[in-house]
C-alpha cells in the first residue's frame, strides 16, 4: 500500500563518528533531515557536557545578533518592510575558522554601533538644549524690549523696599514642558504672591523631550522678580518642575551677542549630527546585508554542537558514539552522508554505523505530500499512531469530506467553497507558505481538504436538491396534479391540499437523481425529509462503524494476535450486525415492500425494535416479513450470548498465555467485562450520535431558507427603477450573510461535528493513537523558526 497505510519501518542505529569529522558528519545529516538523535548523556548535567563551551559561544553571538537587529529596527531609515530576508541558498554550517571570523566581525560592528549611537544621542541632546536657549531668547525679546522702566520710587514703595537687599529687577528664563504650565503658574503665584511677573510664550518649533523622545512645543517662560529670597524660591520651584533655565543677561546687546553665538553653534552641531547619522546608516546597511547569513550559520553551528553534546565519547576518546532512529529504507543515504562528512573534513578514517535492536517501540514516521498532510494532521491532533498501526488518515481523505458534505449539502455553497479552495491552491508563492498570519496559514494548509469538502458538498447538494435553498428541476417531477381532479371550488375553499399517492397517476415513479423538487414546494416537506435523513444517518453510521471494526482485523493480523480476531473482532462484529445490521435490513425492507396502498397498515420499525428488546409483541403492528416474530428472540439471544462468550474466552486465553507472570485473574476478567460493556453501550450511543448528520443538514437547509425568504425575496418582489437600487443593496447584504453565517459558521460547525464522528465513533473502534512522532534533526526546521 505504501507509506500512508502503516508507518514506515524505523530502526535504531549506532553511529561511530571520528573526532575530527564528527562536526561535518552531523552537519551533513542535518542538511538531509534524516535521523533523530537520542540523548545518551541523560545522567549528565547540561553544564557538564563536552561541547558546552561551543554552545555558549554560539549563544553569545546570537545575543550580539539580537542587539544588531534591535538597532536596525530602531534606527534604520528608510525602515525595513517585513522581517530580514532569508538567505538563499542557505549557507552550510561554518567551519571553526569561519565561525571565528563571524564572531570578530559581528562584535566589531556591535561595538562601533554602540559608539556611534552614543555620540548621536549626546549630540542630539546638546542640539535640543541650544535650540531651547535660542527659542527663549527669541521669544522673550519682545517682552523685555517693551518693558517699562521701573516705577519711580515713591514714599510707600520706598518703605517696603528698604526691607529688601536689592531692588534690582532680576530675570529667570527657561523652558518648561507644556503640560506642566498651569500647575507651575499656580505654584509660582501662591509662593511668591505678586512679587513676580511671569510670562509664558509658546515656542514655534517642536523639540524633543529627552526622556521619551517625543516632540512637543516647549513653553518659554520669563520670570521677573525683585529680591534675593524670591529668587531662591523661584529657582527651587523651577528645579522642581524639571525646567531648563538659562542665563538671561539684562541688556539687549548682550542678548544679541549670545543669540549669534548660539546660531553658529547650532549650525556646527547640525552638520556634525548629519554626518554621524550618515555613518550610522552605513553601518546599519552593512548589518542588513550580513546579518541573515550569520544568523543561519550560527544557528546551524549551535544545533550541531547541541547534537554532539548528546553523543557519548568512546573509551579511547578517539570517536564519538551516537544513537539515532533512522528509517530503514534510508540507511544507504545515511552511509553516503557519513562518507561525505568524512571527505569534507579531510580525515582519512571513515565513520560508520551499526544497526541495533530497538528497545521498546520505535517512533512513527509518515511521508506525506502537501495533499495528504492536512488529513494526517487531522488524525494526529487526536493522537499519533502507534508504531506500524493502521493509519486512519488514508480513509479520512474521502470519508471526512463526505460526512462534512452530508451535513453541509448545498450546491451553491459547495461551489463557493470549492472556488475559494481553488483560489488558495493557485496562491503558491513562498510568501504565502511562510506567512506569519496564523489564521491564513491554517486555512492555506487545509486548502486541499476544503476543495474536497466543496466538491462533495456540490454532489450531496445536488442529491438533496438544494441550491442556495432553491430546488433544481433537472428532470420533471414524479408527482402529478391533474389526476387528483381538483375543481376550482375545492381550490378556493381549502388552503392546503394533499396529493394522495394511492390515486392512480398521481405518483409515477421515483425522481431519478435526488429528492423530488415537488417536496420543496410542499408544506409537509419536513415530515418526509426528516424520515429520509434520519434513516440515511443511521445507515451511514452503522456502515462507518462496521468499517472501523473491520479495520482492527489488520492490526491484529499484523501483530499475530489471531486469538483476538476470534475472541474480540468476531463477537464485536456479530453484536453490531445482529442488532444494527438487522435494523438496516428492516429499514430497507420497509422502503421496498410497503407502498401507498398499504400506507394505513405500514409497520413501525421503532415499535418492532423496542419489542425485540422487551421480548414482547404488539398485536396491531404488522410484521415486516413472515416469521419476524420468531426471528426476534433468536437475534437478541445471539447478540447477548456471543459477547459473553467472547469475554470469557478472552479472559481464559489471557490467563493461559501469562501463566508465568504473576497477575490477577479477577483483574483480567474485570477488564474484559468493562471492555464488553463499553463496546455494547458504545454501539448504541454511537449509532445515535450519527443522527447529528440529520440535525446539521436540517439546520443548514432551514438557515439558507430563512435567508432567502427574509432577505432576497423582498428585494426581488420590489418593482420599478427603485427596485434595481434596492436589489443591489439587499444582494450585498445577502452575500455577506451567506458567507459569514452559512459558509464560515455552518462550515466550521459541520467540520467540527465530522471531526468528532471520526475521532470518537470511527477511530475508537480500531485506533489506539499512543505513539510518538519521529522528529528528525533537520536544519530546515531551524531556519524556518528564525
Amino acid at each position: 500500500m505504501g507509506a500512508l497505510f502503516r508507518s514506515e519501518e524505523v530502526c535504531l542505529v549506532q553511529l561511530f563518528l571520528q573526532s575530527g569529522s564528527a562536526y561535518n558528519c552531523v552537519s551533513e545529516l542535518g542538511e538531509l533531515g534524516l535521523v533523530e538523535f537520542r540523548d545518551l548523556n541523560t545522567q549528565v548535567n547540561s553544564f557538564q557536557r563536552k561541547f558546552i563551551s561551543e554552545v555558549r559561544r554560539c549563544e553569545e553571538m546570537e545575543t550580539t545578533f539580537a542587539f544588531l537587529e534591535q538597532e536596525i529596527g530602531r534606527s534604520l531609515w528608510p525602515p525595513l518592510i517585513g522581517p530580514l530576508p532569508v538567505p538563499s541558498p542557505a549557507p552550510f554550517a561554518p567551519q571553526p575558522r569561519e565561525l571565528m571570523a563571524i564572531e570578530e566581525e559581528s562584535e566589531r560592528l556591535a561595538w562601533e554601533l554602540r559608539e556611534v549611537s552614543r555620540n548621536r544621542d549626546s549630540l542630539r541632546s546638546q542640539l535640543t538644549l541650544l535650540s531651547q536657549y535660542r527659542g527663549v531668547l527669541i521669544q522673550t525679546h519682545p517682552l523685555t524690549a517693551s518693558q517699562a522702566p521701573p516705577p519711580p520710587q515713591s514714599l510707600e514703595t520706598a518703605a517696603l523696599m528698604d526691607h529688601r537687599q536689592d531692588t534690582r529687577l532680576c530675570f529667570v528664563a527657561g523652558v518648561v514642558h507644556p503640560w506642566k504650565v498651569p500647575v507651575f503658574e499656580r505654584l509660582l503665584w501662591r509662593a511668591c504672591r505678586g512679587y513676580i511677573i511671569v510670562d509664558f510664550r509658546e515656542m514655534e518649533q517642536r523639540l524633543e523631550v529627552p526622556e521619551t523622545g517625543e516632540k512637543v512645543h516647549w513653553m518659554v517662560f520669563l520670570i521677573s522678580f525683585w529680591g534675593d529670597q524670591i529668587g531662591q524660591k523661584v529657582k527651587k520651584i523651577c528645579d522642581c518642575f524639571h525646567t531648563h533655565t538659562f542665563a538671561y543677561p539684562e541688556h539687549t546687546a548682550e542678548r544679541e551677542e549670545i543669540l549669534i553665538g548660539l546660531q553658529n553653534r547650532i549650525m556646527d552641531i547640525t552638520t556634525v549630527l548629519s554626518q554621524t547619522e550618515g555613518y550610522l546608516q552605513q553601518l546599519l546597511a552593512r548589518c542588513v546585508v550580513a546579518l541573515p547569513r550569520w544568523k543561519v550559520s550560527v544557528a546551524k553551528c549551535k544545533a550541531v554542537q547541541t547534537v554532539l553534546n548528546l553523543c557519548s565519547p568512546s573509551v579511547t576518546d578517539k570517536c564519538l558514539i551516537a544513537e539515532a532512529w533512522c528509517p530503514a529504507r534510508k540507511l544507504l543515504l545515511l552511509q553516503s552522508a557519513l562518507i561525505e562528512g568524512t571527505r569534507k573534513s579531510g580525515s582519512m578514517v571513515d565513520s560508520f554505523y551499526n544497526r541495533l535492536p530497538s528497545p521498546g517501540s520505535p517512533p512513527t514516521l509518515f511521508t506525506t505530500n502537501s495533499f495528504t498532510s492536512a488529513f494526517q494532521s487531522l488524525v494526529e491532533a487526536y493522537g499519533v499512531a502507534a508504531y506500524r498501526e493502521i493509519n486512519p488518515a488514508v480513509f479520512t481523505i474521502v470519508t471526512f469530506p463526505f460526512l462534512f458534505a452530508v451535513m453541509f449539502g448545498d450546491v451553491g455553497h459547495g461551489l463557493l467553497m470549492a472556488l475559494a479552495a481553488l483560489w488558495m491552491i493557485r496562491q503558491d508563492t513562498p510568501k504565502n507558505i511562510r506567512s506569519s498570519n496564523e489564521l491564513w496559514r491554517l486555512f492555506y494548509e487545509g486548502r486541499f481538504l476544503i476543495l474536497l469538502m466543496g466538491l462533495f458538498s456540490i454532489y450531496t447538494g445536488a442529491i438533496y436538491n438544494e441550491c442556495f435553498s432553491k430546488g433544481l428541476s433537472l428532470f420533471p417531477s414524479g408527482w402529478h396534479l391533474q389526476p387528483m381532479n381538483w375543481s376550482d371550488e375545492t381550490l378556493r375553499g381549502n388552503q392546503f391540499l394533499t396529493l394522495d399517492p394511492s390515486v392512480s397517476g398521481v405518483f409515477l415513479g421515483p425522481y431519478p437523481f435526488g429528492i423530488d423538487p415537488m417536496w420543496h414546494l410542499a408544506n409537509n416537506h419536513l415530515s418526509f425529509l426528516n424520515s429520509y435523513k434520519m434513516k440515511m444517518s443511521v445507515i451511514t453510521g452503522v456502515l462507518h462503524m462496521t468499517f472501523g471494526v473491520c479495520l482492527s482485523f489488520f492490526n491484529y493480523s499484523h501483530r499475530g494476535q489471531w486469538s483476538s480476531v476470534f475472541l474480540v473482532l468476531l463477537p464485536e462484529l456479530l453484536f453490531l450486525q445482529s442488532l444494527f445490521g438487522y435494523l438496516l435490513v428492516l429499514v430497507v425492507l420497509k422502503w421496498l415492500l410497503f407502498g401507498p396502498a398499504a400506507s394505513d397498515t405500514a409497520p413501525s420499525i421503532l415499535v418492532h425494535f423496542i419489542n425485540m428488546f422487551l421480548m414482547a409483541d404488539s398485536k396491531d403492528n404488522t410484521p415486516l416479513f413472515s416469521g419476524q416474530g420468531q426471528q426476534h428472540p433468536l437475534v437478541t439471544d445471539t447478540s447477548s450470548i456471543n459477547t459473553l462468550h467472547g469475554d470469557l474466552e478472552r479472559g481464559e486465553r489471557e490467563e493461559d498465555e501469562e501463566v508465568i507472570e504473576k497477575f490477577d485473574a479477577a483483574e483480567v476478567f474485570m477488564e474484559q467485562a468493562i471492555h464488553t460493556i463499553e463496546f455494547c453501550l458504545g454501539c448504541i450511543s454511537n449509532t445515535a450520535s450519527y443522527l447529528r448528520l440529520w440535525a446539521l443538514s436540517l439546520a443548514h437547509a432551514q438557515l439558507s431558507d430563512v435567508l432567502w425568504v427574509m432577505v432576497m425575496r423582498i428585494s426581488l418582489s420590489w418593482q420599478g427603477m427603485l427596485g434595481s437600487v434596492v436589489l443591489a443593496v439587499v444582494f450585498s447584504l445577502f452575500a455577506l450573510l451567506t458567507v459569514s453565517i452559512l459558509l464560515v459558521m455552518e462550515g466550521l460547525s459541520a467540520f467540527l461535528h465530522a471531526l468528532r464522528l471520526h475521532w470518537v465513533e470511527f477511530q475508537h473502534k480500531f485506533y489506539s493513537g499512543t505513539g510518538y512522532k519521529l522528529n528528525p534533526f533537520s536544519f530546515s526546521s531551524i531556519i524556518d523558526s528564525l
Binding site: F395, T399, G478, W486, G505, G509, Y511, P512, N523, Y532
Partner: protein
C-alpha cells in the same frame, strides 16, 4: 405525464460508480501514491453510490404525498402540466 422508471437510473448509476470504483483503479499509474489513490477512488465510489441509492429508495414507495398551498396548485397546474 412522465413515467420515471426505477430500473433505468439504477442500472446507470450502478455502472457509473462501478466503473469509478472497480475499473479506474486498474488505470492508476504506478508511483508512490498509487495505494492512496486507489483507496480514495473505491471509497468515493462506495460513498456516493450509497448516498444516491438511499435517496432513491426512500422515494420509490411513498406512504404519503406532499401537501401544497392552493395557490401553488393553481400555478403548477398551468405551468408544469
Amino acid at each position: 405525464m412522465v413515467y420515471h422508471s426505477f430500473a433505468l437510473p439504477l442500472i446507470c448509476f450502478t455502472t457509473l460508480w462501478g466503473l469509478v470504483g472497480g475499473v479506474a483503479p486498474f488505470f492508476v499509474p504506478k508511483g508512490p501514491n498509487r495505494g492512496v489513490i486507489i483507496t480514495s477512488l473505491i471509497l468515493t465510489a462506495v460513498c456516493c453510490y450509497l448516498f444516491w441509492l438511499i435517496a432513491i429508495l426512500a422515494q420509490v414507495n411513498p406512504l404519503f404525498g406532499p401537501q401544497l398551498k392552493n395557490e401553488t396548485v393553481w400555478y403548477l397546474r398551468y405551468f408544469w402540466e
